[in-house]
Assembly symmetry: C2
Amino acid sequence: MDNLKNSLTEVHNRIKPFIHKTPVLSSSLINAMIGADLVFKCENFQKMGAFKMRGAANAILSLSEEDRQKGVVTHSSGNFAQAVSLAAKSLGVKAYIVMPENAPQVKKDAVRTYEGEIIECKSTPQARASTAEKIKNEKGASFLHPSNQDEVIYGNATAAIELLEECPELDVILTPVGGGGLIAGTALAAKAFSSKCKVIGGEPMNVDDAYRSLISGKIETNERFDTVADGLRTHLGDRNFPIIKDHVERIIRVEEDEIIHAMRIIWERMKIIIEPSCAVPFAAVMKEKETFKNKKIGIILSGGNVDVKKLPF
Amino acid sequence: MDNLKNSLTEVHNRIKPFIHKTPVLSSSLINAMIGADLVFKCENFQKMGAFKMRGAANAILSLSEEDRQKGVVTHSSGNFAQAVSLAAKSLGVKAYIVMPENAPQVKKDAVRTYEGEIIECKSTPQARASTAEKIKNEKGASFLHPSNQDEVIYGNATAAIELLEECPELDVILTPVGGGGLIAGTALAAKAFSSKCKVIGGEPMNVDDAYRSLISGKIETNERFDTVADGLRTHLGDRNFPIIKDHVERIIRVEEDEIIHAMRIIWERMKIIIEPSCAVPFAAVMKEKETFKNKKIGIILSGGNVDVKKLPF
């Protein structure tokens, strides 16, 4: 336990110069609505707009000087692509971002803002993996996984560390569950920095692979991908699943309309912009109000990168 | 000067239990874009979502116990109606809100949330004034003006007081200009709490009554009202105009597309929700970048009450 705490503290100190310490907000209207004390850790205000900056920064900082000179490569069309690009830029490292050729222009532009080099490929998981592999071999670049890599998981843990430093009495922290990197990191942080804080995941019903994985005991995948929470379509991996199995209390599944409703409440009541994936844990709390009554609840608002021209409400 | 400072401090202390001390945010991307240091005083996070809570609270707190028992009345279909309702509710005072019968349902609902009693009238300025007058006479309720009343102006001043406490080195504070209550209060605060901070207004070109008033030396009105900044269609009043004339440096006018662009930048870069009126001062800074280069700039983000289903972008 002390080892874990020391390792996480070391990671936190290492990435501090490259991240924002994001604010923790609350809303008396939302507290009254739920009948509990809620605090929101605003990673939507993080650099590049999502918690992913933490894991990306730690992963690059963990590389040797020699490896840094060869650059890093990832395949992602979402926040992790931006996070790797910005973290790499901050450290003078070259970032190769493999993206499907049909990725939205806005996502390509975001990566280019942070000077990531985009390599386009066909829009299949196989093409993405093989293109990234090719760059790894040709350039000697280090591959960074968005969620299934220890350094990324440890980096992600630092959001919950900051939250627990500010609110040590939390009974529970909720995060969304996509690839599993955020909830695994959060579970490690809760274990190391609190004696009582549980960790619960929120997952869209339509892509409930993590929920099913906890039941079957093995990594399940999704057969459908139709959710507004577009950051949560991925499944768990072999590095984060054991942590989740051991340290996550449970996963609550929510319907699409519940996600959209929760997102809108946070927009309207808190006046902050969060992406749909980010509304899932709050949707879970709204769904199971009785479970959470009178509890001290932390919610990690994972990100705020949303196309304001394409809102679900 | 010391008298003014003492009076404003007294007002601030009086309303503190009824308002939020709102956060001051900044964005390195926006600073780089403008080439200056900008800080944003987030009154969009204020109770009921706008700075109007400050003036409303002070106006009600300034009433005698006897007057409070008779209630308060205002005519507004916007943020001031909500502010009076919530401030009155917090103080156990009855609030009568005169609203045009065609006011949007969402605005009526907001007032009812805070237990204001809505009295509908025809949608003309005359009907609104005469209906409010009637309630004043019948109930003995005290009339509260959204912008042209000393207690409201002094209450509004407290946003800039907090901003200057946190950022004493500001060269300039910008606010939107509608009825004039916010910019007048801000000008008083800058005069009393800073030796150098100027105050500049931002106003939509289409409703530039305040700009014209400063030129002509008398209160001008608008002949057109077509602006996305729907909180800024009103004109100045005899209580705030003298303050504005004496203490506001100048007013910068901006076009509709500049307002919408500025609003979108704040949404996308800062991940916070602001209403169109609230984007006007930042639009002014973007328009006159050269004027503001290397300056320390405070912007009062006046409010965040926007219908997320009806965005201008």
